[in-house]
């Protein structure tokens, strides 16, 4: 039963989880707190994509071959700005408080995002734009484009964090803010940049998923849970670990659901998480001790 369709499905799901987990892990590194609204920002990104795509189709005459790709920069930009607003609301007022306070403020933001989506867009699911038109790349074209886009973004993020001055500053302020400030890195600005980046990534995830998986106000919780699990299994705060964790979850879910049942896949995933934490309290790929959540 496990054929190419299953593998592509697992890849698509893995790409989705990985993008959600990346933004999640960036914020953990920057402020040491779990962003419980990360999944809701994925959902919000989906709605931004829906709005942008409908604007595009109303205001352009040419038949767009790849509407998703065309609006991608727009979505990234819009979500980065929203990310700045998010940090101003949920992080800056609480920066001198324990990470738990930020954790709770993100829960509040999550509630507001979910309910705003319901109030302004309604409860009906909506379909976002395709990445590339089906005529161009066959039935699986969108899914393959989704996986490819995720891979490109993960590679780009890796390059950004490891290969640029900006990335080094970002990592330095995450690892030791006081030391970073002492050597002249503008830590606050770096943290704000991290928020913008993390939420832009969530937006990208939202755009990529909005066609394949539709978008609904209540979608956030699932993405947040999967991101949380991916990051924990991958080793708290480790970016590559988060991607590996996300892929592992997606493959596990898809394979168990294909062989046995979806309900069991979901249940076993949580049992697996508990088993892993029992055997390895520091996570599957984790080595170092993390900070307080």
């Amino acid at each position: 039963m496990i054929g190419s369709e299953t593998l592509i499905a697992a890849g698509g799901l893995g790409a989705a989880y990985a993008l959600a987990a990346l933004g999640f892990v960036l914020i953990i590194n920057a402020v040491g707190a779990v962003n419980f609204a990360q999944g809701d920002f994925v959902m919000a990104g989906g709605y931004v994509a829906v709005v942008a795509a409908s604007w595009l189709s109303q205001n352009t005459d040419v038949a767009v071959i790849a509407p998703g790709l065309v609006i991608l920069p727009l979505v990234l930009l819009a979500m980065a700005v929203i990310g700045l607003g998010f940090s101003a609301l949920a992080y800056l007022p609480l920066r001198r408080r324990p990470p738990m306070a930020v954790f709770i403020s993100t829960i509040a933001i999550g509630i507001m995002l979910r309910q705003s989506a319901n109030a302004f867009f309604g409860a009906a699911p909506q379909a976002g734009p395709v990445m590339v038109a089906p005529g161009l790349a066959g039935n699986n074209g969108h899914q393959l484009a989704m996986i490819a886009a995720a891979l490109v973004v993960i590679a780009a993020l890796h390059g950004l964090l490891n290969g640029t001055q900006f990335g080094r500053h970002l990592r330095a302020s995450a690892q030791d803010p006081q030391m970073a400030a002492a050597v002249g890195i503008p830590v606050t600005r770096m943290i704000l940049a991290t928020f913008a980046l993390a939420i832009a990534l969530a937006g990208l995830a939202g755009l990529l998923l909005s066609h394949q998986y539709l978008v609904q106000p209540d979608d956030g919780t699932t993405y947040m849970l999967k991101a949380y699990i991916a990051v924990t299994l991958g080793g708290w705060g480790r970016i590559n670990g988060a991607v590996a964790g996300a892929l592992a979850i997606a493959v596990f879910e898809t394979v168990v659901a294909t062989l046995v049942s979806q309900v069991l896949a979901e249940m076993l995933l949580y049992v697996l998480v508990l088993a892993v934490l029992w055997v390895r309290p520091q996570g599957l790929f984790g080595k170092i001790e993390g900070r307080r959540a």
Binding site: M112, L277, P281
Partner: protein, 567 residues
């Protein structure tokens, strides 16, 4: 009872009477639900506020309570009271089973593990249809029956629920206030300090976690009767968020906070109804606002109550007079390839001050941590009074008479001096004896006038002395001091030396790790010099100061450094 309590009680009773006289069915229903959530929040405070564990399974335990009640009352004709007891039992057993693997996890891992447990409970509620009724749930749960009186909804339920709130509050007060509360603060805020004064943190957390689950189950059981239906909604994460929100908005530790949180979390959405579909947005915004403006929750606006000093200043009684000795043989500890402690043998006895010196990285702190049990040895033995303690935990050793003060004072900022000292005294001592011990500990370090001073207002010298006082409060035989003079002025060091000498003369065995030779050389009877994890010299202070090897590897450098500093 203070006047404030009387006035507060009067106002609350008047409000309650006013409410009962004017409320209709709807208001009573909301107030009953508010009471139910207050019980769940009281439980959650034990886990989150007192034990300091971010559990996301409180909603699941609530759900378990509701389901057990629903199943037993509808399918097995059990009456409500018996069903509630069963619900409490099931939740307690489940929490105890879960606690064993989960309670040792660090915060975010603990949060995820409890979240996973909650999800499993939710999936069972939805999919184990033969038992739980599936997504439809269980309907027709009869009203609660207590002593064969049916508790109808309306005022009978309201009064019953709030009586239960009072009972739960009493339980919480009993387990988390006074000296117990101080020890909880210590374990939560400064876990290492809790270990070295002999607090069994694992037992503490286990007890609080299980109690929190039991209270959640009581709340769930009441809710099943109040709503008449048990559905997977009671195991949903949304309910967990509701309890979490109520706890944070009200306050994480105060009973008043639980009441405020429980009432607000039920009433706020109702008050915001006028906003139509926007009402839950307003709810989220209100929550955000409270987090920003009220870090300790709304109850945090009321001042914290402190444990009063109960013992008048008296001349300090003598310390212990027991002959004690601590002995380590061939002690070894490796970190990766680094041999931090590599075969150290030493003996420490009553009345003696032993100084431990050595360059940075020579193994001084590791030795101290090995002796107190904060880390485990790779080899060798430690014996306390001829009893081997090598494999015992730090808190067990502390209870056997080992005490320690930290280099960086590890104290709860919100405690007063008196409370910080009382926190170290085992609960097995009655309050009179505890007050005596605390007063003595303060007096021995000359802190007796400052019992009511807040820890955060103490000077560096005061903090150092309080560290020692807390160690003394455990009535130890052996006291380990980690760089007690670091950062103190010359005059402060001299005063501290007098204090430490006096403690040794009173019969304590004292081990001092120190860099400040000016402080240590005149004070210590014996000095052990370490280098690269091994003892390179041992003997009387005067002798060690002349030892060429010691000078070469340590003192010389120290003198150069002193000269540098002098310039």
């Amino acid at each position: 009872m203070t006047r404030q309590t009387l006035i507060g009680g009067g106002v609350v009773s008047a409000l309650a009477v006013l409410f009962m006289a004017n409320a209709g069915g709807y208001e009573m229903r909301l107030m009953s639900l508010a009471g139910i959530y207050t019980i769940a929040v009281l439980g959650y405070q034990m886990a989150l506020g007192h034990a300091g564990v971010l559990s996301l399974a409180q909603g699941a335990f609530f759900g378990v309570g509701a389901y057990v009640t629903g199943i037993l009352t509808t399918q097995h004709n059990l009456d409500g009271a018996a069903a509630m007891l069963a619900a409490m039992l099931v939740a307690a057993v489940l929490a105890a089973l879960v606690a064993i693997p989960v309670l040792r996890l660090k915060t975010h891992y603990f949060a995820l593990a409890t979240l996973a447990i909650a999800e499993v409970v939710h999936l069972l509620a939805v999919n184990w249809t033969t038992v739980t009724g599936g997504a439809n749930g269980i309907y027709g749960v009869p009203p609660l029956v207590l002593f064969s009186i049916e508790i109808a909804s309306g005022w009978p339920l309201l009064v019953t629920v709030w009586s239960a709130v009072a009972l739960a509050a009493g339980l919480v007060f009993w387990r988390t206030s006074g000296r117990r509360g101080l020890r909880l603060d210590l374990a939560r805020e400064t876990p290492l300090a809790a270990d070295v004064v002999g607090i069994n943190r694992r037992r503490q957390r286990f007890e609080l976690f299980v109690l929190s689950a039991i209270l959640a189950a009581v709340a769930g059981s009441f809710q099943a009767h109040a709503i008449g239906v048990v559905s997977p909604a009671v195991t949903d994460f949304a309910l967990m968020v509701t309890i979490l929100v109520a706890t944070l908005v009200g306050g994480q530790q105060r009973i008043l906070g639980a009441v405020i949180g429980g009432i607000l979390v039920i009433h706020l959405p109702e008050w915001f109804r006028a906003f139509d579909v926007f009402y839950l947005i307003a709810y989220g915004a209100a929550l955000l606002l409270v987090i920003i403006v009220a870090p300790k929750g709304i109850a945090g606006f009321w001042p914290r109550r402190h444990l009063q000093e109960t013992h008048a200043a008296q001349p300090p009684p003598a310390l212990c007079c027991r002959q004690a000795s601590l002995h380590c043989a061939n002690l070894r500890k490796h970190f990766g390839g680094v041999k931090a402690v590599d075969g150290i043998t030493a003996r420490f006895t009553t009345g003696q001050i032993t100084g431990v010196i050595g360059p940075n990285g020579s193994g001084k702190s590791t030795l101290l941590n090995l002796l107190t049990g904060l880390i485990r040895a790779d080899g060798g033995t430690i014996t306390l009074d001829h009893k081997e303690v090598t494999s015992l935990s730090a808190d067990t050793r502390a209870r056997a008479g080992l005490a320690r003060a930290f280099q960086h004072p590890d104290l709860v900022r919100e405690h007063r001096v008196w409370e910080a000292v009382m926190a170290a005294i085992p609960l097995s001592k009655d309050s009179v004896q505890a007050a005596k011990d605390a007063a003595a500990a303060c007096a021995h370090v000359d802190l007796q006038g400052q019992a009511a001073t807040l820890v955060e207002h103490l000077s560096p010298e005061g903090l150092r002395r309080l560290e020692i006082a807390r160690a003394l409060a455990t009535v130890p035989d052996i006291l380990l001091l980690d760089e007690p003079a670091a950062g103190l002025t010359a005059a402060e060091q001299d005063r501290l030396a007098v204090t430490v000498r006096r403690l040794a003369d009173d019969g304590l065995a004292i081990i001092v790790v120190e860099h400040g030779m000016r402080f240590l050389l005149p004070l210590a009877d014996t000095i052990i010099c370490l280098d690269q994890g091994q003892v390179i010299a041992t003997g009387p202070a005067a002798e060690i100061a002349e030892n060429p090897e010691v000078i070469d590897c340590y003192l010389g450098r120290f003198e150069e450094a002193a000269k540098e500093a002098g310039k």
